[in-house]
Symmetry: C2
Subunit: 196 residues, 2 copies
DNA sequence: CGAAAATTTGACATGACTCAACTGGAGTGG
DNA sequence: CCACTCCAGTTGAGTCATGTCAAATTTTCG
């Protein structure tokens, strides 16, 4: 039970959510569980949910024609992930999503998401504010990408998500930062050598 | 008058807006005009509006400690610009905004924006969808930043915003792409040399 | 334990940056 | 209408950050 009240508290932090609205959330959200390394969503799939992470860690990536995977997001507990575009328009998913650790999510497909926001004004406002906040973070990330060196980006990443550093394989961190795994490895070696 | 119905049509494209809601928009939105090269918002200012561009072109940038300006967005007619974070929390603006050409905007400070979204559910939904769409575009831009070469990013920019190429000084385009003006100049020279 | 994947390390290649010199318009004042 | 300045843009030489490829090592996991 504390899990659920945690979630309500977390969501209400952005926009007050009534008990009825919260009940609707749990009624519409499909609870799904994934093992470590499970594929949550295959890129190119025709149905693409938007998911609230109850527990665990998910990674969202896009695989280009050359077969390279580019990580665009790590999602942890109390965050949302999914392919928004595909969820909204029912187009084939542009991203793939993979479980980095054992994960549970509440999953909303387009119809259920639409029901949630139209039946519960608190959620409509919540998502407006959530996307607004997320947009701000994306803008900051773009600024880091265009103005920081790889080393500065790495430091920013570590200080923003200290725990992910342990959890996530380095090659995905490298991809998230926009550098090669080899270069990340060299950077870290240099970094720790300096500390002695 | 056609101007106004144009705006209503454009906004209603995302979320149906009633005539009363639209009237509220024009009542709350302060019409402001800027000359070419005018400073619309000074970075560090304590009041930071969110603006709907009626006509013209604005550029949003962040200036770092070393004095370098990093362009994060060009805004054209029917788009929104502003420092969302600063508008929402009333913190000092992180961005500066400058008019690239003569521009008119409808400007909403935090109180007026809040009034608009709480009094007009159509606008609450509109902004949820607007931010959702914008988020999608920002994610795509991040992918381009981490996976494309400078040349590929330039090509993507030109094909996405063909008109801006003419309008905006090159050095700002370079900053938007995350490269130096010199390098952009060399890239273009190479590009056009190949075409002959 | 053994195979496959992730990480590290090294030699070399290159895309993009720096700095400085040069060119060419766009304004401005005489 | 010219002369002057002042940016924006161009070009070139040299440098540095980061990438590529391949081999060695470590970790993961069946």
């Amino acid at each position: 039970m504390t899990d659920l009240t945690n979630i309500q508290a977390n969501i209400s932090h952005l926009s007050p959510i009534s008990t009825e609205e919260m009940a609707l959330f749990f009624e519409l959200g499909l609870l799904r569980k994934f093992k470590k390394n499970a594929l949550v969503l295959r890129q190119g799939e025709d149905i693409s949910p938007f998911m609230f992470i109850k527990r665990g860690c998910l990674m969202t990536y896009h695989e280009d024609e050359a077969g390279f995977k580019h990580v665009i997001q790590f999602g942890v507990a109390m965050w949302w992930t999914g392919d928004l575009q595909s969820m909204q328009d029912n187009t084939l998913s542009y991203y793939g999503i993979k479980a980095i650790s054992p994960t549970e999510v509440y999953s909303f497909d387009q119809a259920r998401f639409e029901t949630l926001v139209s039946a519960a004004p608190g959620f409509e406002r919540y998502f407006r504010l959530l996307f607004q906040k997320s947009l701000i973070n994306h803008q900051k990330r773009i600024i880091r990408n265009i103005s920081f060196s790889a080393e500065q980006r790495y430091e920013a990443f570590v200080s923003t998500f200290p725990k992910l550093e342990q959890l996530v394989p380095q090659k995905y961190v490298a991809s998230y930062l926009g550098i090669t795994p080899e270069f990340l490895s060299k950077m870290k070696a240099r970094f720790y050598r300096q500390k002695d």
